[in-house]
Symmetry: C2
Subunit: 153 residues, 2 copies
Amino acid sequence: MHLDEFDRKIIGALQEDARMPVAQVAERAALSATPVSRRIKRLEDEGVILGYQPVLDPRRLGFELDAYVLINLDGHSDDNISRFERAIHGNPYVIACHAVTGDMDYLVHVIARDVEHLSQITLKTLVRIPGVRDVKSIIVLETIKETRAMPLE
Amino acid sequence: MHLDEFDRKIIGALQEDARMPVAQVAERAALSATPVSRRIKRLEDEGVILGYQPVLDPRRLGFELDAYVLINLDGHSDDNISRFERAIHGNPYVIACHAVTGDMDYLVHVIARDVEHLSQITLKTLVRIPGVRDVKSIIVLETIKETRAMPLE
DNA sequence: TATGAAATAATATAGTT
DNA sequence: AACTATATTATTTCATA
């Protein structure tokens, strides 16, 4: 699978506005609507484009706070790991979770309505997952940049 | 500004698929197409919905690696800060950057093509921004969860 | 002030070359 | 890949609650 210059232009346009009319995308890619329509379909089928999402303002939905929680597991038994990961998947306030290098095992990104809510998420929910040993919170003071757009060079 | 149950259902449907036809969104919200179309417009105008983006598979675009870089600034002069933040905004491999609590000043999320590229981004670019003192990299081994969908309860 | 139904306008897709 | 025709979808209008 290879992306040519047309595909890149199409993806670039959609990254600006995923609901941009095909004709407009076509104009930017110097193509007509038909091949653009077909290429978008192909990119979806091939799994380059996985879906489309609205970009929402967290604050307007009541999420004023944002934190990264570093977590260590007690043992690293399969049981502990799968239980932890299940808990993560089931928690709607966890918007991202990565297994990472360094002295902590996981980096978990959470959103919260306020300080109390954040405290509830970390102290009442995350630390209480069986197998969790250590938790360190990094609270976001300010978001300097947050983009989902990927470079296409 | 207040979101009612209809707005929530509409946003919920769009979070599943931002290109879902209005008629289908309407069905899920138990409304007809007309008010749904207007409500979406209103949510956009009010800044609840900021835009629409494709969800892309980073790997298919050649980004195999993913890291969080913790950064300390030397002094905290306005000059240092604004220079740093300008560099962050100008770097397309930085997909997120937050000013955070704790012993590091910033948490920077970067994507990279491979280890060499990651090294280039951190050692050749980020550490060389004037004012940057200390850099610690946390490399993502596995992404357990990554959603942009916000809870709407 | 907000809805639903119908009409119109815009847009996407399929067929043909 | 483009052009044209068709189908799908969005939006506007209007009557109404």
